[in-house]
Amino acid sequence: MTSKTLSVFLGIDWANSGGDGTDESSRIEEISGNESLSAPDEAVFSEGGYIPQISFSLINTDGRFSTNNASSPIYNNIRDGNFFQKKVVVKLTINSTQTVIFRGSIKSLDETFGTYNNTNTVKIVCRGQEDIYKNVKLSSSLNDSRSNFLTQRDESLIISSILEGIGITVQQMSLDKGLFIIPYFWLDNDSPIEDCWRIASACGGRFYYNSQDGKFYYKNAFYYASLGASQETFTQANVGSAIFDGVDKDLIKKVRVTTRNRRIGKVDEIWSNDEVFSIAPYATKIITAELSNPLITYTGYEFRPTTFSGFSLSNVTIGAESYSNKIVLTIYNGNTNNNVAYVKELKLFGQLLEPSETIIYERESNSAFWSTRSGSEKSLSSNPYIQTYAQAKSIGDIIFDRQTKYNSVLRINNYLGNQFLRVGSRVTVNIPNRASGDFFIVKADWAINSSGLKQNFELLSLSGIYGQSPDSYFIIGTNKTADNKKLFY
């Protein structure tokens, strides 16, 4: 194994300048990170996602990173929690080739004070940008939901719409064209990132933040067939250990996918309020009408404004702002006789998106493998973005082909090569008589310290990822009718 030269650039944008920020590389004690296709202890292909993370220890002898040290040149940038969400970039240079290995923002900062037993250090944990947006709560407007229904958007366009809703620009996205139509979409005080994960899962794809270029990605269900050329070959010479991992975490005998069908109801009363409430003269009252189901059309309201003694009152007006699951009413008492308005029998009318009958697609393996074994069932029953039987069948078939057959999992530790490899990278394994073939990385963790760069990976064989080999599918714009190619799911 030839030796390699390494250098790390750690930039922290303390001043929010928008660039790489201050070079803090000289203070690094150790830096490590990890990313994964799914959350720890979950199946590789789960409904959630995983936020990439790094942590690093910085020498803090001079108190530069001490949040209570007023003499620190960055004191105002870190005091009182100001360090939260500062942008961080880490670049790794291997043999003169520099690669960005992380872009994200500070999640936490722990300071260890110098004692007889410890030196002054700070440990900073950074996470990908989706961590910031994950905890945002977003409600889609009625226009957005209705527009989705009328234009019949695919999953990619819906993800784009969600990301735009939290201020992500088109330049900060890289989204594959979607493969499925999701007729009904709404957000009701939901996490935009978690819903993007759900949509991706409902369509067999992957939504993630790329900590290398700082963009949000959606890869459709064909993702694993289009990973590109193998980026490295793992051999006994360049890995510290290669372990066959015989686990049944992803192995199932049966798949069951439930569609969450919807139908548009008739124009009817969709909300009413039996309470009588008063509004002072020339005052405004804001009322939020929470609806039992998502709104598809808002047609109007009825109410009876009266005086205290029950006489009709004029000039009491209502403005309505419609969201997918609520209508915010602004009621104004503009009565010119200074009467307090008593609002009675307030009703709203429109069309709701009502739950319809669910349809279940299920498929059980009858292969010889399962004839002598009991197997588990994978159920997708709560994903609201599986709305048609055709979609349920496609997703069910993908899961069936992927998970009812045993698929090799390998763990590679202490990779010593010159590549910085990420989740989703296609790699080749060549360990004679033990393991060989094309795999892709489903988990990665790495560390850089005085001993150099250490990378560990979990791999899944590409050969079992679809029912056919990835190059056997008909590619639009490439294949001819005479080619012997097959339809994807």
């Binding site: 064209k177 055709a390 639009i476 714009g477 001819k480 009718t481 799911y489």
Partner: protein, 332 residues
């Protein structure tokens, strides 16, 4: 709204997937069911009207109730050459406005109206409105062969190039299918008007040559107004028309009058004030005075009720036709 899920657009580099192809197939099947199904004919309205009156909205009228769904309205029929057919629209709280006109030529007229291009008179989607027709010539037989709403969005002709074994199937080719399917109208392609069941009184009944045939409508009260349009033709004797509301509390007369000539009448019953009102300043009849005296009970919302009319005459040539009875939130 469509009764099928549109196919997704295809993109070069993506796989041709079964889901996308199946959505094209399903949409095509829906297309056949919606537009090309030979087993069931889509009804067109054929109405033979003797538009006996001249061109006056205060006189004999022909009203048709429609629920706004589409962008265009077609009225086509036959009449005597030179007869001018005018189309009037009435919306809630608005006056009648003329929205179309055609002079009969070669015994035919065909009026197409862009309903979405009427400025402030365009009915909203889902709104009930009434179409009136008038004739410029008096006592002329007119047949309305068609009246229906439709969407003036003709389906784009699909132009697909032929392929052979060496043709690369790309997104341009595939998305032509998708585009054409997505451009299909989102609702049933036409919307004929509603016309109520017509009651007719024209023959003597009973030993005293006394006519007492009634027509009855029933429902649950949801709205404040009940609108009725009817026409009379008077023979040698006066025609007496009476109106009643029946509830579980009893029967209540809400007015009657003697029709005095060949007329059409619009009446609106306001449940909340229990008074008849006469729209359009119809002259000749005075109905509604005494409504309160007759003790008509206000009918609570949600209450079942019946509305009925009777017409009485000794003349065998008197007629009483009901065009429609319509409950509405606001007076039309």
């Amino acid at each position: 709204m469509r009764n099928f899920i549109a196919p997704p657009y295809f993109q070069n580099g993506n796989p041709l997937n079964a889901y996308g192809v199946n959505q094209i197939i399903e949409a095509t099947n829906a297309l056949e069911s919606e537009f090309l199904d030979f087993k069931m004919l889509r009804p067109k309205m054929l109405i033979k009207e003797r538009m006996r009156s001249i061109d006056s909205l205060n006189d004999s009228k022909n009203g048709f109730v429609l629920l706004k769904n589409f962008s265009h309205l077609r009225v086509a029929g036959n009449s005597t050459d030179g007869n001018v057919i005018r189309v009037y629209l009435r919306r809630v709280g608005k006056n009648n406005v003329q929205i179309g006109e055609a002079t009969t030529a070669s015994s035919g007229f065909d009026i197409n109206i862009h309903l979405n291009n009427l400025d402030g008179d365009t009915p909203n989607a889902g709104e009930i409105y009434i179409i009136y027709l008038t004739s410029s010539l008096e006592d002329i037989d007119t047949t309305i062969n068609y009246m229906y709403e439709y969407n003036f969005t003709p389906i784009t002709k699909i132009e697909m190039s032929t392929i052979d074994g060496q043709t690369t199937i790309d997104q341009t080719h595939l998305n032509k299918f998708v585009d054409n399917i997505r451009q299909l109208p989102e609702l049933a392609p036409s919307n004929p008007p509603f016309r109520g069941v017509g009651g007719r009184v024209s023959w003597p009944v009973g030993a005293s040559n006394y006519i007492n045939q009634f027509t009855k409508w029933e429902g649950v009260r949801l709205n404040n107004f009940l609108r009725m349009r009817f026409r009379t033709q008077i023979g040698s004797e006066n025609l007496s028309v009476s109106f009643f509301i029946d509830t579980y509390e009893g029967q209540f007369s809400i007015g009657s009058f003697f029709a005095d000539s060949l007329k059409s009448y619009d009446y609106v019953l306001n449940f909340t004030t229990r008074g008849w009102t006469i729209t359009n300043s119809v002259t000749g009849a005075s109905v509604g005075t005494g409504t309160a005296e007759n003790g008509v009970q206000n009918i609570a919302k949600g209450t079942f009720y019946q509305f009925r009319t009777t017409a009485e005459t000794n003349s065998t040539s008197s007629y009483f036709y009901v065009d429609y009875v319509l409950e509405s939130k606001n007076p039309l």
